[in-house]
Amino acid sequence: MSLVKNLMEGTNFDPDSLNALQKVTLRAVVMSFLFYGLVAVEGMIMRMVVTGPSNPLPPMFSHPEHYFSIMTVHPIVGIFGSTYQLVFAAFMFLVPFLTKKPLYSVKLANFVWLMITIGTALAWIAAFAWQYAPLYTLYWPLPADTEQFKVVGGIVFIVGVALIMIGTLGFIYNIYATIFQRVGVHKNKTTKELLISGFGIDGMLNLWHKLTGKPPYSKEPALSLPVVAIFRGTVDTFLDALVILGAGVLVLVYLIFDLGGSPLDVGAIDALLYKNYFWWGLDLVADGLVLIYVAGSWYLLATIITGQKLFMENVARAALMLELLVSWMVWSHHLLADQGQPEMMKLISGEMVTAFELLTQGLALFITLVTLWKARPLKMTMELKYLLGGLVGFGLAVPAAIIQADMGMNRVLHNTQWIIGAHVHIALIVGLYMTLYSAVYVLWPIVTNNTKLFSSKLSNAHYWLHLIGGIGMGAFMGMAGLDGMLRRHLYVNGEFHTDMVLAAICGSMILLAWLLFLLNIVMSVGIKGLIGIFLPAKDKTASYGIEPKPAVVS
């Protein structure tokens, strides 16, 4: 087959053979990877600006308004436009797949990816067109500072973020409505049984019964472990969406009053209290749903790759319950440099409870590794490679977080490139994305009806470039942080030139990796196939693998 034919028609991909659930999943995945490309380009622009005046970019990128508007939308596009889309798509496919039930509503799933796509685009446009740049932290009263930002830019940005959160609420509703549907294997289950299983309480009770010599509370839990992780993580996703929506409404009210010529007093909102409120919610993304979703994904991938039961499943279920409590109480580690924050909150929430994440994530790492080890020898498939890459990412990033969540260390690490490089970017690019790529490779044949991948060489090149580039960029940013480079600051004179050149080289590897991945996918499904994904599905089935009685889209 010629390359041009591949480009147009793919390998053996047939979009008409996909059912409604498969199509809606792939639509969100496509949007996710397009946003990923955008975020990689934005990241590279920022990395190159800070290399110094010899960077080849046009001077406008070094202007503070332009630079910080990129910095503002970079995490919005990355976290919501790309990661949320990909995770939501995977979970809205996996929950029906694993529970052998239809998705509650494919229409709602379509609404979710559309809302997140439009919302992300609006936030991006607000930064591009009006250079609205309060950063994702939205520290009060900066987002309502109309001396620095245009009101219309702020309104468009907040509406964009609100649409993303509305899409998120749609995802949450769809997931819980699917889990609580009393059809198929759950026909005779009560809501109480599903709730107990969803929160991982049955795992705790099983452990307790074992310790006290009683028979197991539940031999066959109502929900499989990955579904429990999705259930649990989605609690944090819900709370986080409420907090971000709440902050958005607050900013919007101030901006609208300003537009009407009667500005409100920004001093009416206590900046530190607002920080506590906002970080409590925002931290549920970083320390709540990400870690729980990731742990659940590791368990699922390990069992699918090995074809065996998960090691210490009851402990894993119970740990997910523990993570619930931990994730709600760790936000103060973001406020260790705030001198008005009560010392006891810094000590207990900021340091001690945060340290428990070492335990919960370490446990997930241990259970995954032992499950893999017990099944050896294993073939080093792409999904296994990516899973191991994901484990490396969190193996590096979580201890980095525990180190910085310390009152002594934070004094010299807070707001430096160490935080965003050694911790955040390694956690996201290496830890989270390699786990997600592993899931993509596992789900690829299922979601695309056994479409042959165009090139395994491209897959391997993508893997190594992404892994080395991700770790390298995070490491050099982290080193610059230890040398005093701040994370939310503009450096135009090449103050940290060597580290930033090396970080930019590694960043370009990540960008190149994405291009190779994209090429591989486009050559596999073809441009016609890509278009076909967005056309209405002929087969309205909202489930996968429970034929011959397909459920119909609501």
Partner: protein
């Protein structure tokens, strides 16, 4: 073990974390290699509860270690009970430092209180060495009490090494912190000078 300044701590941290990073990457690489081998055997059997104890000890022990090795932790917690050798109070408004002395000269070993207040936005207060490394920092939150008096953001710091330090805002407060060429308008060069210390730190 005790660190006399933040530079020593940063160097120690650089070495310790680099060793850890190499170790964890090597362990997973070794693990990955052996996953594909039928004849691979465990070198060590890691007991589950031993591993859990190690994680708990690591998480808690790290804070106990830093509390004892980093002098500014306990000083920070009890700063309201400590009488400083000198206090410097200044404010920030519209990205400008207000009431800032032209120069602050500190004798070796002195404990200084910096009290910074913001009239509008969230800023940061950070002292930096001439090589760019960070001496210390805090966030500067705006706000007033019921009488309209600006809220304090105070930090206590003991200087044990000679040096000349620049002042920068360590928190983003909008693009107006910079001119259109990207020059930081809140950077104050050579604000603080510490004198009278021995070459390797400590009073003469």
């Amino acid at each position: 073990m005790s660190f006399s300044n933040s530079l020593e701590l940063l160097k120690f941290h650089w070495v310790a974390y680099s060793i850890y990073a190499v170790l964890i990457i090597s362990v997973i690489a070794w693990f990955a290699y052996n996953l594909t081998r039928k004849e691979a055997k465990s070198i060590v059997r890691i007991p589950f509860y031993g591993y859990i104890a190690f994680l708990v000890a690591g998480g808690v022990g790290h804070h106990i270690f830093t509390y004892n090795a980093i002098p500014w932790v306990s000083q920070d917690i009890t700063r309201h009970e400590i009488k400083p050798d000198a206090t410097y109070t200044f404010e920030i408004e519209k990205h400008k430092w207000i009431g800032l002395p032209k120069k602050i000269t500190i004798q070796c070993g002195q404990t200084i209180k910096f009290n910074v207040k913001s009239r509008d936005l969230v800023y940061g207060f950070g002292l930096f060495r001439q090589d760019g490394s960070l001496v210390t920092q805090m966030q500067v939150n705006p706000g007033t009490d019921v009488n309209g008096i600006l809220d304090s953001n105070d930090i206590l710091w003991t200087f044990n090494h000679n040096g000349v330090f620049d002042l920068m805002s360590t928190e983003y407060s909008g693009p107006h912190q910079y001119d259109e060429n990207g020059k930081d308008l809140m950077l104050v060069k050579n604000l603080v000078e510490v004198v009278g210390c021995k070459k390797d730190g400590g009073k003469k």
